[in-house]
Symmetry: C2
């Protein structure tokens, strides 16, 4: 038997687990920026992203791209060029992040004004 409060708390636990799931995927110093870069251009090569995301090293870029690929947010395609280039694009599932990224962008702008002070 469960009373209303218990149900409510169960609900809340579920919600927190869900947010946590999202953050597990999105955490990592560069992940959101990487997604943002790819998303913005549609398709993007390794070296391009390396340029877009200020401060990231190839080591980290490689690592985080791999994680994004494992989580099925990003699709990796090797192009048969000389030398080889690799193209990254968002999967359908990755594209569902657009709303979140857009919201984070808007919030970030407001927040900066709030903290840094106009």
């Amino acid at each position: 038997m469960s009373c209303k409060i218990e149900e409510f708390q169960q609900e809340q636990k579920k919600r927190m687990r869900a947010v946590q799931d999202s953050m597990d995927v999105l955490n990592g110093k560069w992940k959101i920026s990487i997604i943002s870069s790819i998303c913005c251009y549609g398709k993007r090569r390794f070296s391009d992203i390396l340029n877009d995301v200020e401060g990231v090293s190839n080591r980290m870029l490689s690592k985080e791209l791999k994680e994004l690929e494992i989580n099925q947010l990003v699709k990796r395609t090797v192009l048969d060029t000389q030398p080889i280039t690799v193209q990254y694009e968002l999967t359908e599932h990755g594209n569902t992040l657009q709303t979140i990224i857009s919201n984070l962008t808007d919030w970030g702008i407001v927040h900066r004004k709030k903290i840094v002070g106009k």
Copy 2:
């Protein structure tokens, strides 16, 4: 003089910086869960949050709450009880995160189904 492409790229850089700003605030293993807990109950005491957020230690909770306070997302109030209790609540600014948290929750549920498989 700047051509369209340059303008576009400048815009994109700004967007990425904004997302990065948001993530700087929200990064940290527990931050979102903490906010989610406080947000859900309106006001919440230290020990309550410690219970809500599964796995967090008092050391980490203390640290991340302090960071949230610095970023003006959370307001800390010492209650004159015996023994002393401390109440945390979201600031007006902190409340503007609700949309994002809500989005992250929804996305997290979908994502789990996608990855873990139903």
